[in-house]
């Protein structure tokens, strides 16, 4: 209750702050202090609500629906904390927390810079208000109680001490197979329990737990990084709309630049920690699969990168006074960054991608769906509307056209190319909404030429001066880099044996940009250290592209069956499977493989386990990380040798009605009579058996046998019978209580033994892959991020009036 009140109060204060800021912007005199007070009050409420929510998670308060669904009492502290953002409600609240804290910094930032605060904060608080509305009680409230809507709780999550209460029986349910029992939790049982002095928290004592895929380090890091960057994405949007409100475009680029750079830098890290998770934990075999969820986080990043390039041109052309070049482009791009963040939220939370993504998304209800849509449409129409409204005055600031060989044009072209990439990803990702979908090839083939152009532009733009450059000057400046690139290309083809023309172009253009950035960057930075950021970021991009060429273009994969103790070879690595052992207290199994490469010995231990959370086989890869390549081992399955006996598929399956006869494996089989289970024992849930009385005729003799299935505490168990005289093994696969039809599986005993013999070895099936230069991908990302932060620092110093 306290949580819902905190959230509701925060919403009210946020609304009040919005109105006060708007009035201040319209010229009211005494409202600014109220606006600030309300904002900080709201921020405190949100922080307290989040702290309270975390407290509820840490103390396992399963009377809250969210905590029951995503947490349990066995999680260690670190994973309990990541429960905070494991589900929709919690991740919304976490996003709000980040946004609210960003707002505190933004308020003090804008308060120190002239008249900025009222107009920027009006827009920013508007986004905050919308976000908080999403977690208020009618929508995705993280503080909703378990009994608010009827929920079926697994019996094993209930405190057994309270199960003997007389009224509990009325709330007991069972599922189709009759194996799992549930207790229905609703207002009624809540009241009945309360009357007996029992709270729901004492009644429900375990939670469903955290999805095992999220129980790792990268999932503790990835969501916070992404949400902080998304919170920051609202800032350039606020600056852009504020500039439009004021109809003054001279300062907003300079003032919002450090925010845009920081947001994009954090997004780079956020996206890639997700990629590393897919590579190192999910065992996708790669870091990027063009999955809609990945894509939807990439689009805002790409648009942010495009915006940074054209914002730079506007900044530079402003030095001569006036608004500068690309004012409209910059406004549109900064608005689009935030809109695509919202769109990404919509795609991943609304259930529209249900069939398209490996991530599971179930519709969160019509109300939330509509609210999200309203959210996007409002902000989109606000952006478009404002630009249309100011179109005339925006067109008054026409600047003289630039020369073809100018840095302005190179930067603009870069933005266009990156924007094209954003469009491709957006189109492909949105296709499932219209019942379409694209193959991964669509993204790959479109991006190879784009990446080649990016490489060339990345190098070329540094060789170009602002305004105008002579062709001969470019050649003389780039001589060293061109020679180095030539040598690189020769090495690539002769020693690297790369013959695919697109891959040669891609790697060579990336290498070219790397050399130019290093050379020119070194010269410039020696004179002026503050300019280092962009060179670092572009070196990062070049390294990243080289890493992608190696790890995606030249990775090789092989499926291998490792028989225990036998040596197998793949890609020059020899492997011996030596057995498995339980780890983490028997929760998981590590499969030990001794690897030899060159003269060195290694050990890889991929992991498999059955997760209680979803009752499925989970697999975790293990990676032998090298400087130049990774050796990637993902487990597929394990057969312990006894599997052959239990494998039904090798036998012949027949279905028989009572009294009917069938000929199989040289014998005549008659279904004589149904063996009835003891009904009383059965109803009481005790052990019983049922089956079919059979008559087997073979070689002129007749035999009577019973094919039986037993039920004990574990479930149904079929008992195979062997008839040595007829070389026949019979197993009752299924028997229907009402029709009495029996499904039998027939095997030859000798044949079955043959199968048994060939399968008696323990076999571990794996996918082995080689990933050349994958380290350059990670290194590139870290270097890019560093570059963003260094640039943000530089632009922050320039943001003062």
């Amino acid at each position: 209750m306290a949580g819902s009140i905190l959230v509701t109060l925060a919403f009210v204060l946020s609304l009040f702050s919005l109105i006060m800021y708007y009035l201040s912007f319209r010229g009211a005199k005494n409202t600014l202090n109220y606006a600030r007070l309300a904002y900080h009050g709201m921020a405190m409420l949100i922080i307290v609500a989040c702290a309270y929510f975390l407290f509820l998670i840490l103390t396992n308060q399963f009377q809250y629906k969210y905590i029951y669904n995503y947490s349990n009492d066995q999680l260690p502290l670190g994973f309990l904390i990541s429960t905070f953002w494991a589900g929709q409600e919690g991740s919304f609240m976490f996003w709000i927390l980040c946004t609210v804290i960003v707002g505190i910094f933004l308020q003090s930032y804008t308060a120190k810079r002239g008249e900025l605060e009222p107009k920027v904060m009006t827009v920013f608080v508007l986004t905050v208000t919308f976000l908080i509305a999403m977690i208020t009680p009618p929508l995705k409230n993280p503080f909703a109680y378990l009994w608010a809507e009827a929920a079926f709780i697994d019996l094993k999550h209930i405190n057994p001490a309270h199960l003997n209460l007389p009224f509990i029986q009325n709330f007991m349910f069972t599922n189709d197979s009759g194996e799992t029992n549930f207790v229905k939790i609703n207002h009624e049982i809540y009241t009945l329990l309360a009357n007996s002095g029992i709270s729901i928290n004492e009644f429900v004592i375990h939670g469903k737990g955290l999805n095992p895929l999220l129980q790792n380090f990268w999932m503790q890091l990835h969501p916070p990084l992404l949400f902080v960057s998304w919170a920051l994405a609202a800032v350039p949007f606020a600056f852009a709309i504020a500039a439009l409100l004021k109809n003054d475009y001279s300062d907003w680029v300079r003032q919002s630049f450090p925010w845009t750079l920081t947001a994009t830098g954090l997004q780079t890290l956020g996206i890639m920690t997700g990629g590393y998770w897919a590579y190192g934990v999910l065992g996708w075999g790669g870091y990027w699969a063009w999955d809609p969820v990945e894509n939807s986080s990439l689009v805002p990043w790409l648009i942010g990168v495009a915006a940074i390039h054209t914002m730079l041109v506007q900044r530079h052309s402003q030095e001569k006074g006036g608004t500068g070049r690309f004012a409209k482009t910059n406004l549109i791009l900064c608005i689009l960054v935030f809109i695509t963040v919202l769109y990404s939220t919509f795609l991943t939370r609304s259930g529209v991608l249900g069939d398209a993504s490996v991530h599971s998304f179930v519709s969160p209800g019509a109300l939330v769906y509509i609210t999200l849509l309203v959210f996007i449409i409002s902000f989109l129409s606000l952006g478009i509307g404002m630009i249309a409204y100011r179109w005339k005055s925006l067109n008054q600031f026409v600047v003289k056209d630039e020369n073809l060989l100018s840095r302005e044009l190179a930067l603009f072209t870069s933005a266009v190319v990156v924007g094209a990439s954003a469009l491709i990803v957006l189109v492909g990702t949105s296709a499932p909404i219209f019942g379409q979908s694209v193959e991964i090839k669509f993204y790959d083939e479109m991006h190879i030429p784009i990446a080649i152009i990016v490489g060339i532009l990345n190098g070329l733009s540094l060789l170009l001066k602002w305004n105008e450059t002579k062709g001969s000057e470019i050649l003389s400046k780039s001589r060293n880099s061109l020679i180095a690139t030539g040598i690189f290309a020769v090495i690539l083809i002769v020693f690297g044996k790369v013959y695919d023309i697109m891959m040669i172009l891609l790697a060579t253009s990336a290498a070219f940009s790397l050399f130019v950035n290093v050379e020119i960057g070194y010269r410039v930075v020696r004179g002026n250290k503050i300019k280092i950021g962009s060179y670092i970021a572009h070196i990062g991009i070049a390294l990243f592209i080289l890493g992608v060429v190696g790890s995606a273009g030249y990775s090789a994969t092989k499926e291998i069956d490792l028989v225990k103790g036998e040596k197998q070879e793949a890609f020059g690595y020899s492997m011996v499977f030596t057995g498995f052992e339980p780890i983490q207290g028997g929760a998981k199994y590590a499969f030990n493989i001794d690897v030899e490469y060159g003269n060195k010995k290694y050990n890889v231990r991929p992991v498999m386990y059955i997760s209680e959370f979803n009752n499925s086989l989970m697999r975790e890869p293990d990676i032998l990380q090298g400087w130049f390549k990774d050796f990637y081992v993902a487990p597929l399955g394990y057969e312990d040798g006894r599997a052959g006996e239990e494998n039904h598929s090798h036998g012949q399956e027949v279905t028989l009605e009572v009294g009917k006869q069938v000929e199989a494996l040289g014998a005549k089989i008659t279904y004589v009579e149904f063996i009835r289970p003891d009904m009383e024992v059965m109803m009481a849930g005790g052990e019983f058996s049922m089956g079919a009385k059979l008559k087997i005729e073979f070689g002129g003799k007749s035999y009577d046998i019973d094919a039986i299935t037993k039920r004990d505490g574990e479930g149904l168990l079929s008992v195979p019978v062997e008839l040595k005289e007829a070389n026949l093994k019979i197993e009752l696969a299924n028997i229907d209580m009402t029709s009495k039809n029996a499904v039998l599986i027939l095997n030859n005993i000798t044949g079955a033994e043959d199968v048994h013999a060939t399968r008696s070895a323990e076999v571990l099936s794996i996918t082995a892959a080689i990933k050349p230069f994958v380290n350059l991908v990670w290194l590139g990302i870290i270097v890019i991020t560093l570059g963003f932060f260094l640039s943000a620092y530089r632009r922050l110093r320039e943001s003062w009036n």
Binding site: K441, N614, R619, L636, S765
Partner: protein
Amino acid sequence: MKQKHIFGGVMVVVFLSLMIYLFTQTNLQYESDFSKVKSKERMIKATGSWVKEKGHETDQNKNFVFTMKDVSGNEMKVVYDGAIPNNFEVATSVVVTGMYRDGYFHAKNILTKCPSKYQDVKDPKSASM
């Protein structure tokens, strides 16, 4: 200046036509009616559910074989060149990408949808004890 605009325009047209061309080339349609899946001779994404009663197996060529049915109960044998996917046995629905040929569906890719991350317990049938 005119030339530059023409050049820019041409580039935009080239880019868009390339994108539309590739889109149509790599486009995969969703199909939940298996009688239509069987009649189409192109790559498709078939959505349905696994017929639990018929089980699943791994054949000699290490293919994963199972039977799927659509909403109206049409069944289809699916052969997937790979191992059983995570979560397969608890999946509420299955999306297979591939083509129907020679009496069965050759799947290149399987996607299992599970009642996990963002879903509550499915209402169990109210067969009271």
